[in-house]
């Protein structure tokens, strides 16, 4: 009996990326009433959530150099630690909690809120040394944080936020509104 791995070549034309295989993307637009302060949360099928910026965020239009600062007031997000399966000891997050600040050389900056209730599991430390990742791969290696919420909260947040197609629709209508002005 010989079983060849080539027996199982899937249809490469329909190949799904790592992100698309495991995650469903949700969006929240104009957070805190700030135009194009658009956040993306990617929910893994196991309810792990990745926080990132939505492609429509104005961050992606600005080409200046920036750094990402994970010290919020007296909370250092980078010193977050979790213990055990229950991720005990992780920083508690409310939707308004600021995860990091993106700071430009000109002194301007803006805060990235977590947009959901949960426990901070992990900060993408790679962004400290390599902030360009956020611009280059916002929906994969450039994620900002991993958040774990209860099943109930996770489900609720997921249904509250915009799904991918709703997001695209909204963007389209925004764009056409913009043209009318």
């Amino acid at each position: 009996m010989a079983f060849n791995i080539l027996d199982s070549i899937p249809d490469i034309d329909n190949f799904k990326s790592y992100t698309d295989r495991y995650f469903s993307k949700r969006y929240i637009l104009d957070v805190d009433g700030v135009k194009n302060n658009d956040i993306m949360i990617m929910f893994h099928s196991n309810r792990i959530a990745l926080l990132s910026l939505a492609p429509s965020h104005y961050f992606f239009k600005k080409n200046d150099d920036y750094t990402i600062n994970f010290t919020i007031g007296n909370i250092d997000r980078l010193s977050n630690t979790v213990k055990g399966k229950g991720k005990k000891g992780g920083q508690y997050l409310t939707p308004k909690s600021v995860i990091c600040k993106i700071e430009y050389c000109d002194g301007t900056s803006y805060a990235v809120p977590s947009c959901m209730k949960g426990t901070l599991v992990e900060i993408n430390e790679e962004l400290v040394n390599n902030p360009a990742l956020l611009k280059k791969l916002p929906d994969s290696d450039g994620f900002i944080a991993i958040i774990l919420a209860s099943i109930a909260v996770s489900e609720a947040t997921k249904s509250e936020l915009l799904a991918h197609d709703e997001y695209l629709k909204k963007l389209n209508s925004q764009n056409s509104d913009g043209k009318k002005d």
Binding site: I9, S17, K83, D141
Partner: protein, 533 residues
């Protein structure tokens, strides 16, 4: 010391012949086969014969005459019931107990059995009462010589029980089948009530800590209460002043529990499906896949062992040297596994084991080539293997972006796996040449399991890594990879959002992903003895 006065003293208290011998401390099973004769012989001769065995044999010969004189099968009157064993060691009680034996129902194939007894707890109190009196009467009496009730039970009842169930009696260390009779005395707890006045502090403590001690009287608490009991204290209690209270009711056999020590089957399974979990995959009580390797293997084993479908879950237990993801096949010689059969009724023949393998393989999803009986000790090998073994995988990978090493003419063209890529992968190393491992990884707990595992960074070693081009599929390549147990291969290939470092893409400075994964070999000798009959 002289045995006669002890026997007479015990008899006067109301002990049966067997209990007389127990208080003499006799430990020869033969003696207990005819207690009455042996006791009478001591009383006649003043001393036993030079050796127990002779006299036991002699008493066998004498048996008929004595029976003629005084038939032992007469219906026992309540006041004849032994105050110590409460009738357990008296033949007159046994017909009722024999009736409770329906072990043939379970159909054990084994020829031997060991015989267990769960006696009413008050027998402990009664034993203590007799011992205290013996010590009081005979200053030189050694309280530790008492032959345990359980032993005497084996030598008396057990021997007769063997005839009733048609199996031979053996010790619990030898026979795999243990048949325990659970005995209850209706007034057991009432009788033990006196311990509360005799040892008040102990039971006050127990009733204060209700959560810790859910029941007042356990074998242990009774033994504890009896440790420091004095004859004076006991005699101060109503009914215990001049002797032991009579046994007013029958001790009943409330249940017979027979259990055979587990048997273990060992083998290796090959998993051919990418839609088959190793064990039933449940999410919030809902099953995600129709079947599992475990269920496919259990099915014929259960049938051959006559295990009802409803009992499979608690009668069979699946153990394996690690596991693979639902979408990963396990090929080559397969993965070592074992099945524990609880309370088995029979040992399957080599032919039956062959049939089981055939039935498993007939599903087309799982193949088991050989199954053999293994020992419990062997299982440690299996579990040890889980941590120490290394595994070889074959992965089908895709190059998703152009390599920074590629000379790109058209950036929009499809990436192709180049000879250069293959060479770079096959020579990639981040360890010193003297190191046994070629690559050492640091893997954070993969996102896909992070919800149920702690967040940790684990160091894992890759020993071999060989990439090959696929001529008909320019974007794909295969990877043979030999790693230490516990390496997450999928994450090594795609990098898990940069959470596994280094990852395969770093070797060729391109984005890569994994399309399919097979376990090619689990490097573990199992089962240990491969008898091929």
């Amino acid at each position: 010391m002289d045995q006669t006065p002890i026997i007479n003293f015990c008899k006067d208290l109301g002990c049966c012949y067997a209990c007389c011998l127990r208080y003499l401390g006799l430990k020869n099973p033969k003696v207990f086969e005819n207690c009455r004769k042996y006791v009478l012989e001591i009383l006649e001769n003043g001393q036993p014969k030079k050796n127990d065995r002779d006299s036991a044999e002699k008493s066998e010969i004498m048996k008929k005459d004595e029976n003629a004189e005084e038939p032992v099968n007469k219906k026992m009157k309540m006041n004849d019931t032994c105050v110590s064993c409460m009738g357990l060691l008296q033949e007159e009680s046994w017909p009722n107990y024999f009736q409770a034996l329906d072990v043939t129902r379970k159909g054990y194939e084994t020829d031997t059995f060991a015989c267990g007894l769960s006696a009413p707890m008050t027998t402990l109190l009664r034993e203590k009462a007799v011992i205290l009196r013996l010590c009081n009467q005979f200053t030189e009496y050694d309280a530790t010589i008492l032959t345990p009730l359980k032993e005497a039970w084996k030598w008396t009842f057990g021997v007769q029980m063997a005839k009733v169930i048609g199996k031979s009696l053996d010790s619990g260390a030898v026979s795999p089948l243990l048949i325990t009779l659970n005995m209850e005395y209706p007034d057991d707890l009432q009788e033990l009530e006196i311990l509360k006045t005799l040892s008040p502090s102990l039971f006050e403590l127990r009733s204060k800590q209700k959560k810790r001690f859910t029941v007042e009287f356990t074998r242990r608490s009774v033994e504890e209460a009896l440790t420091d009991l004095s004859l004076e204290a006991l005699q101060g209690v109503d009914g215990w002043k001049d002797g032991l209270p009579a046994v007013e009711k029958h001790v009943k056999c409330v249940s017979v529990v027979s259990v055979h020590t587990p048997m273990y089957l060992g083998g290796r399974y090959i998993k051919l499906s990418r839609e088959l979990p190793q064990t039933p995959w449940m999410v919030n009580g809902v099953r995600m896949m129709d079947s599992s390797v475990q269920e496919i293997i259990f099915d014929p084993i259960a049938r051959m062992n006559l295990i009802e479908p409803a009992d499979v879950e608690h009668r069979l237990k699946f153990m394996s040297a690690g596991r693979e993801d639902v979408d990963v096949r396990c090929l080559g010689q397969g993965r070592p596994f074992a099945v524990e059969i609880t309370d088995p009724r029979k040992q399957l023949s080599p032919e039956e084991l062959k049939t089981i393998c055939k039935e498993i393989s007939k599903t087309g999803k799982v193949i088991v080539k050989d199954l053999i009986y293994v020992t419990k000790v062997d299982l440690t090998e299996l579990k040890k293997g889980e941590e120490t073994k290394c595994k070889t995988y074959e992965a089908l990978c895709i190059k998703l972006s152009h390599s920074e090493y590629d000379h790109i003419v058209n950036p929009d063209s499809k990436p192709k796996v180049t000879e250069n890529d293959i060479e770079r992968i096959n020579s990639y190393s981040n360890t010193s040449p003297s190191d046994e491992a070629r690559i050492v990884l640091k893997q954070k707990t993969p996102v896909r399991v992070l919800h149920r595992r702690p967040l940790l960074t684990r160091q894992r070693r890759i020993y071999e890594l060989i990439a090959k081009e696929l001529p008909d599929h320019p974007q794909l390549f295969t990877l043979v990879i030999k790693t230490e147990a516990g390496t997450y291969i999928k994450e090594w290939v795609h990098g898990d959002l940069g959470r596994t470092r280094p990852h395969l893409g770093e070797a060729i400075k391109a984005k890569v992903d994994i399309l399919a994964l097979d376990v090619a070999s689990v490097h573990l000798q199992w089962p240990l003895v491969n008898n091929k009959n």
